[in-house]
Subunit: 418 residues, 2 copies
């Protein structure tokens, strides 16, 4: 099989479908989503049978149990996919929205119309539910998509792709609006991310290694984040009850998420009061503490942090703690060692809160709230295809709007330029 020729074929089909999707009505797109939900419901047996093939192959090849778990498709998992499709159908259609339509001195009326990006490539790892989730967001935002899941999920993904194709058909949309790459050949990814004539944006979802590789090699824009090295800074003018609650929640609510705090910064004025209290909370939850010299003086259980602790995303019950002299030092630390994902200050001081919001260069900056709120659902986007830490195009949680662009529309009445 000539993988490049195959991918170019998918690309050309996607490009053609994108022109059709761009003018599809909201109703048509919603019908495709709801019809897909119905087909998934009808085909539960097929989906589970196909998923069994992937699971057997995974076990035979010795895939680690955690990966096998993520690969499994249960009837409950199918319920969740169906529910997700209904939720996306219920969201407002971003496409065609015209903003800021204003008359200019010349008499023309100028505004911006939201339009789909075109073709979106999605590269992801084992979870087969991503196939439905990503496809639904692309359909609703009027884009065509090419999905490249993990080779270990190929049977599941192909079976899901058939359901989506039937859903699209029932809404009179081209099946090629959503295409799952049918080969497990690894060079398909390389082709997908280097054909700007067919693919406008790539969204990688998976481990840091995958995302780094794709960012390095892609010839199109990549919507991504590499790390979530998130900070909470407790100011000397913090309300200590709020500080305790936020520092606890930001670290211990979930350990494996990208918006979990990995480094706690504490102003030296209040470190002696709050750190021992926080230490009891963390130690009670078996969180390992790695601190600067001052932290280790205040917390017996803390071990000395090494240089790499300030730039590590633990994704585990481990926390780095640093005592700082001032908010200014905290901001410098965050901008230098952080990953521009999500950072919070706890303070009651008005001027400091405003300065922190402006000076911290992250995709989400918070005052008196847990970093765990950085999430498309919590931000009211209704859905999320990922979180971007880049500044270009999309930043922070990326929902339907992040999969669109804007064009200018000009309405005249025979106007010519003088």
């Amino acid at each position: 099989m000539d993988v490049n020729a195959y991918m170019a074929e998918l690309g050309q089909a996607a490009r053609n479908a994108a022109a059709e999707m761009a003018v599809a009505s909201t109703d048509q797109k919603n019908r495709a989503l709801l019809a897909t939900a119905d087909v998934l419901d009808e085909r539960r047996d097929v989906l589970i049978t196909e998923n069994q093939k992937d699971l057997q192959a995974a076990e035979a090849s010795g895939l680690e149990p955690a990966m096998v778990d993520r690969l499994a498709l249960t009837s409950k998992g199918i319920d969740a996919m169906i529910e997700g499709l209904k939720q996306v159908a219920a969201l407002a259609d971003p496409v065609g929205v015209i903003n800021d339509l204003k008359y200019m001195p010349s008499g023309i009326q100028v505004g911006k119309m939201r339009v789909p990006l075109g073709v979106i490539g999605i590269v992801y790892e084992s979870r087969p539910n991503v196939t439905v989730e990503a496809a639904s967001l692309c359909i609703k935002s009027g884009n065509a998509t090419i999905l490249r899941g993990g080779s270990e999920a190929i049977h599941s993904n192909k079976a899901i792709a058939e359901c989506i194709a039937l859903g699209l058909q029932q809404a009179n949309l081209s099946e090629t609006a959503v295409q799952v790459v049918a080969t497990t050949d690894r060079s398909a990814v390389g082709a997908l991310i280097t054909m700007p004539e067919y693919v406008d944006v790539v969204v990688p979802r998976g481990g840091k290694g995958l995302i780094e590789r794709i960012s390095r090699d892609a010839k199109v824009t990549v919507i991504k984040h590499l790390d979530g090295i998130c900070h909470v800074y407790i100011d000397d003018q913090a309300d200590l009850l709020k500080a305790e609650a936020i520092a606890d929640n930001a670290k211990t609510h979930r350990y494996g998420t990208c918006n979990t705090m990995e480094t706690l910064l504490v102003n030296e004025q209040i470190a002696g009061e709050i750190l021992p209290k926080l230490a009891r909370v963390y130690i009670g939850k078996n969180v390992e503490l790695r601190g600067c010299a001052k932290t280790c003086q205040l917390i017996d259980e803390a071990v000395p942090a090494k240089a790499e602790d300030w730039v590590t995303e633990y994704l585990a019950p481990v926390l780095a703690i640093k005592v700082v002299e001032s908010m200014a030092e905290a901001i410098v630390h965050i901008n230098r060692y952080g990953s521009h994902h999500t950072d919070a200050i706890v303070t009651e001081n008005y001027t400091k809160s405003r300065h922190f919001l402006t000076a911290v260069d992250s995709s989400s900056v918070m005052v008196n709230a847990s970093t765990r709120f950085a999430d498309g659902f919590e931000y009211g986007l209704g859905a999320e295809i990922g979180i971007s830490t880049d500044k270009i195009h999309a930043r922070g949680p990326v929902g339907l709007e992040g999969l669109t662009s804007e064009k200018y529309v000009v309405l005249g009445d025979g106007h010519i330029r003088q």
Copy 2:
């Protein structure tokens, strides 16, 4: 001289200055712009003397007269630069604007704050006034910038850079917020566009060759357009008086601009009526007409168009004309052969106008208005650093807002995630 080391030095200085510019107040940025205007006014003699060196070198090296013209800096040209600085100072500051600040069900308040991009690289050709224009937009939008002008303008650009440095100084901003590359070594451009650690966005301004080269080699986002192959489609339901005025203005108002119409599409139902009239207008202005077979039947003076005429940006008194069967054919032609810059329909039909606006995939789409309106000033942006035909980040005329991004801000009162 080690050009890469030199460029990395500029890059590091720009990165440092960017952090300062991001928190600079509107007043401080405006003071820098107005102080630069004053310094330019005081240093007219120096600027003209330095420009003479460039002009003499250009003539000695046999640069074509048109290029020498563009290089010349007159007292009137300095007036225009001063006026431009005052205009940018008068524009609203895009930075820090918070939009859509809304309460979420959890109780947190979420909004988007507009922030600078960081460091912007600008690569341009001979006109030294671009140095002031680009610098002023970057200063106002809170970005640091590295400017790489043409080697033929090096003395002029260095003299202008000194004026800007003094202006920045008077506002207590780092001189390194605006840096002009002081070497004419060609490899400086290659370095500038491949150091994502120091430069966030590159804006090339110049000929298509320059822009193609930069787009191909850049490792950062490029804000650009390659061609302006703009169309006007005259529908069978057009008001023919409006159609004539627009088709005339779009082609003949200026021949060398990127928003000039290069191909006229005419519905066959009204081609017999309008094309002979338009031909008289064009021929009266010495516009060469290249038409499809039907056009040549209707216009004696038209010569047969070749395949490449549909994809050529003439930038000259030449027009390609094609008779089409329907609006659908016009849309397919525009999306296929156009450059996604600016395209217009002339029609009185409501439904067609709405469909054209949606289906044409260009950065500006117009109804009953001349393509010549596609311009930052005409769109009310107040200034323009370029026009983008890409879909990512910025599209259409790019003003101050196009040089910024948004981050999420979250305001809580001790909120934690449940």
